[in-house]
Amino acid sequence: MSQTIQIKNQNFTLHPLGGLFWEEKSLLLISDVHLGKVNHFRKFGAAVPRKAIHQNFVLLDRIVADFQPFQICFLGDLFHSSLNKEWELFENWVAKTPAEIILVTGNHDIIAPEKFEKLDVKIFPELIMDHFLLTHHPEEREGFFTFCGHIHPAVKLKGLGRQQLRIPCFFKSEHQMVLPAFGEFTGTHTLKPSKTDEVFAIVEDMVVKV
């Protein structure tokens, strides 16, 4: 179950897998997938289960099927490491996915741009669409609303009986929305919201405003 919100008179749907869909543009935003991370670890002798590699693509397929977007924009850290064999799997995925794919680069994206261009994936350091700024690192810019990633946000919830819970979330402040990390095998960073922040937590298959 997803959650729809309005920002600057545009409609955005927050998906429980961690993606955000801009309805008017039919644009799907996804951040911090960290492809290649599993293989990177394995290459250095850390035996992370191989099946986790495929999970990323399974989830990508699922979210694309839910929205069938025109464009998919990755907000950085699409690849965790230098080129490794997961690239081939990514090539296959790009080839079979019927949408235009854009990458706004993040700190982990060190793979040569030509490799992406060969696949018809466009690369930008940042992207401006109407009054919206798409970047990897959080940034507030006069007159724009920012969509970004990088932080892998999560929040801590407390309840009676001294209960505590930490869950990944979409983290919205006045001029900015930080997307959760989409990838399997990625960690989170706990943020403490202020009074004006809005938090959309990912609770199993739902997005819940808290």
Binding site: N39, R42, A46, R50, S81, N84, L157, G159, L160, V210
Partner: protein
């Protein structure tokens, strides 16, 4: 041969103890064995002597000619002890006119010294289990060890029941093959399962075990236990763990004895006590010192030396002073807070009156009222020598993977040969061929099948079937990671101008902001910044109550101790003249307890319920020890959740456990549905959410030991960051994608066998089934419940839909 040793003893005007002679004889007859002797009893001479005598026997021209090469290895679990051991060895080798050399090789040994040893090994080497494995990871190790005639494992009781013990078993299994004429000896303090300790050391089916002896020193030392009983019980707290209320009672004890050791249970408690004594009694300045594992080595050595010189009145310390080192001037020992174990208590008591024939005196200082019961039980335990068992690990796949990589890093190994050796050990006696194959696959492929896109690389197989690591980078990373003690990431604390003070867990430092003042190593320090893996500080005059906490393990009572504790508690109903002084002093608390609730008797099982602003408290009192309560609370919470959706947090101590919930739990339903039944215990435990959390924590160590998580090079934290994943993440990935992984499963096995002690849990449930259950609905928290309900370290459990919980929690989002 004996006359040499005996005349040496005569020269010192000593007389060898019978156990020393027995050990010499057995060793020289070529036997293996276990020597049961306490610290300070002369155990080092019991084994160094026959080693040297054996050399003299085999080399009659020993005074003129020196045959180079390693002759014996002495393993000590604490490198701090190595100096002392070296001194006693040198005394013998020199006095007997041999030209034998003695060397130390531990984590503290300089690189220069180590490479010198590589070319010319000392005759007698003192080292740790970790450093022994590092030697096994170097090329051509077999040559180094070929003339080694003896391995002595000192303080074997400390290693047994830990993964370092497993590491030792594996090391010995290799050396049995490599060394041509080896004797294996262990030295252990008294534990409940000494026979088993010998079996683990030598291998359960080995010919070494057949040809071995168990020698007991039988030095009966008089130990006197005195409880410090608060004069005014009415104002003595019901909870707490510091014990500062009784600080003034400690002062006369310190004044009346030459040197006093104050043992605390945690390093933070140690810091606080040190501060507070000095604050209230500045006259001790310069005569009071502190000793714990996080303080830098120089300071610790200085303190140890100062104890020997008798220049200190008192030392506040932790288990860091439990072992080894003979401190003759120590006259009195004070234990602050429950020591949680009889063996440990005895060991600490033994630190005082260290000279033969002298009496050991230990004071027990309770930190809250309930601990007086523990004090009373402890006296009984000491009288009956009711010492705990140390349970050895079985099938620790993580340690085995590390060991196999170690062998692959040095000269490579042939699986058939190593399998035979490994099967001989206690830990892996039941290792199946299928499991063995799984481990080999894991080393080579990182999984059980090959896939084309996979780039996994670690161990390679050569054409002749040899398993070997060819990559120098893999080898280097592995050598850095050898060992089985996994600590939290620590940060060095240094003065801005230079000067190392000690190390603190990163977790604590991360909560500080520049300018904050905290207490560490007995000083007030202002935090400036983090640079690399160091925290820079300057001295400060500001007062502070921030004391670093270290995530030490919380210890649990053994079965024996729990039983004694229950028996003590039951005496509360006896006439006063049949009670121990501790129980008598608790009379006001028992009265209060009876007003609100009751004091249970042997045939009763007490349940209390009440409400506070925290929520609804449901408290159960099995009196079985912390570990059992952890499992039982989890089990019960799970079973309740089958009746009705519930979320609760769990807390437990050695007396009982609590389910704290935002809703009332129907106790009658628990009784009606017989939720304490031992039936289906294991499967229910496995399903309870909590076991997941516990296994996750166990997995942390497993991931590091098996080499799946790289913790980074010391001092180069950042550089290797791209390889540091959190083991938590890894655990989740295994859960989702590879739950048949042996390492993942090991996390659960360890949880059930070592943490929850399922065997004991079952017995406890069976006992409860025989008892009458008494449910008291109270208006206020009772004295018994107080230490439990104020415990902030809690486990959580829930089977409610996450979304439902969130809705209720939303209002409380921390802003």
């Amino acid at each position: 041969m004996f006359h040499i040793a005996e005349s040496w003893f005569q020269q010192q005007s000593w007389k060898p103890f019978p156990f020393q002679k027995q050990t010499w004889t057995a060793f020289l007859e070529g036997k293996h064995g276990l020597l049961n002797a306490p610290t300070g009893s002369g155990k080092t001479y019991a084994l160094w002597f026959p080693i040297v005598l054996n050399y003299i026997h085999n080399h009659p021209d020993y005074q003129t000619k020196h045959k180079k090469g390693l002759k014996a290895v002495w393993i000590t679990p604490l490198r701090a002890l190595s100096q002392e051991i070296k001194q006693s060895a040198e005394r013998i080798t020199q006095d007997l006119g041999t030209q034998m050399t003695v060397g130390i090789r531990t984590g503290d040994t300089s690189t220069k010294e180590r490479s010198k040893q590589r070319t010319a090994m000392p005759d007698l080497l003192i080292t740790t289990p970790e450093s022994l494995h590092l030697l096994l990871s170097s090329k051509g190790y077999a040559k180094l060890f070929k003339d080694c005639t003896a391995i002595v494992v000192d303080e074997w009781h400390e290693l047994l029941g830990t993964k370092r013990g497993v590491q030792m078993e594996l090391g010995l299994s290799r050396l049995k093959t490599v060394c041509k004429n080896l004797r294996i000896w262990g030295i252990s303090a008294t534990i409940g399962n000494l026979e088993q300790a010998r079996e683990v050391l030598l291998g359960p089916t080995s010919k070494e075990l057949e040809n071995s002896v168990l020698i007991k020193a039988e030095i009966n030392k008089k130990i006197t236990v005195k409880s410090i009983i608060p004069e005014e019980m009415e104002t003595f707290p019901w909870r707490g763990h510091l014990g500062l209320h009784l600080l003034e009672d400690v002062i006369p004890i310190i004044n009346n004895s030459k040197t006093t050791l104050l043992f605390t249970n945690t390093r933070s408690q140690c810091e606080i006590w040190f501060q507070k004594i000095l604050e209230q009694h500045p006259e001790y300045a310069g005569e009071l010192a502190m000793h714990h594992g996080s303080i830098n080595k120089e300071t610790r050595l200085w303190v140890e030396q100062a104890i020997r010189n008798e220049s200190l009145r008192a030392v506040v310390c932790t288990s860091s002073l439990d072992l080894g080192v003979d401190f003759a001037p120590v006259e009195t020992v004070i234990q602050i807070g429950g020591p949680k174990g009889v063996a440990r208590f005895l060991q600490r008591a033994g630190r005082s009156g260290h000279r033969p024939g002298k009496e050991s005196v230990i004071y027990f200082l309770p930190t809250h009222a309930m601990e007086l019961i523990e004090a009373s039980a402890m006296q009984k335990a000491v009288r009956h020598h009711a010492v705990e068992d140390r349970i050895p690990y079985l099938n620790s796949f993580d340690v085995l993977l590390q060991y196999l990589t170690t062998l692959a890093v040095s000269d490579g190994f042939y699986p058939d040969e190593i399998y035979e050796e490994v099967k001989q050990t206690f830990c892996y006696q039941a290792l199946s061929e299928a499991q063995w194959q799984w481990l080999l696959n894991f080393l080579v492929m990182g999984s059980q099948s090959l896939k084309s896109y996979d780039e996994y690389k670690k161990v390679e197989v050569e054409d002749d079937g040899k398993f070997i690591v060819n990559s120098r980078a893999v080898a280097m990373r592995h050598r850095f990671q050898i060992g089985t003690i996994v600590g939290d990431a620590t940060i060095h604390v240094r003065y801005q101008k230079g000067g190392y003070i000690g190390s603190i867990e990163e977790y604590f430092i991360s909560k500080l902001s520049p300018g904050d003042v905290f207490t560490f190593a007995g000083r007030n320090l202002e935090f400036i910044r983090i640079k690399g893996m160091s925290a820079h500080v300057v001295n400060s005059t500001k007062r502070t109550n921030k004391v670093p906490s270290w995530m030490g393990g919380r210890l649990s009572f053994s079965a024996k101790m729990s039983e004694l504790l229950r028996e003590e508690l039951y005496t509360a109903e006896l006439p006063q003249n049949e009670q121990s002084p501790e129980i008598q002093s608790l009379a006001p608390m028992f009265t209060k307890q009876r007003e609100e609730s009751m004091v249970p008797q042997p045939h009763q099982f007490l349940i209390e319920t009440f409400k506070t602003s925290d929520g609804y408290h449901h408290i159960f009192y099995p009196f079985e020890g912390r570990a059992i309560h952890e499992g039982m609370s989890s089990l019960l919470a799970y079973r309740i959740s089958l009746l009705t959706p519930i979320t609760c947090s769990l807390a437990f101590n050695d007396c009982g456990f609590e389910l704290l919930s935002d809703k009332k739990i129907d106790i009658q339903a628990i009784l009606d549905n017989d939720l304490f039944t031992p039936e289906y215990m294991l499967s229910d435990l496995q399903k309870s959410l909590n076991s997941n959390e516990m296994a996750r924590r166990k997995f942390r160590d497993i991931a590091v030991i098996s080499g799946m998580v790289f913790t980074g090079y010391p001092e180069k934290g950042v550089k290797m960051k791209h390889l540091q994943s959190s083991s938590e993440l890894l655990f989740d990935v295994f859960k989702d994608f590879e739950d048949d992984n042996l390492l993942y499963q090991q996390a659960y096995t360890e949880t059930f066998e070592h943490q929850l002690e399922e065997g004991r849990l079952r017995l406890a449930l069976e006992r409860i089934a025989q008892q009458e259950i008494v449910w008291k609905q109270c208006k206020n928290p009772t004295p018994f419940s107080f230490p439990i309900i104020t415990d902030r370290l809690r486990e959580k459990l829930s089977n409610e839909k996450l979304a439902d919980r969130i809705k209720r929690m939303t209002a409380k989002l921390t802003r």
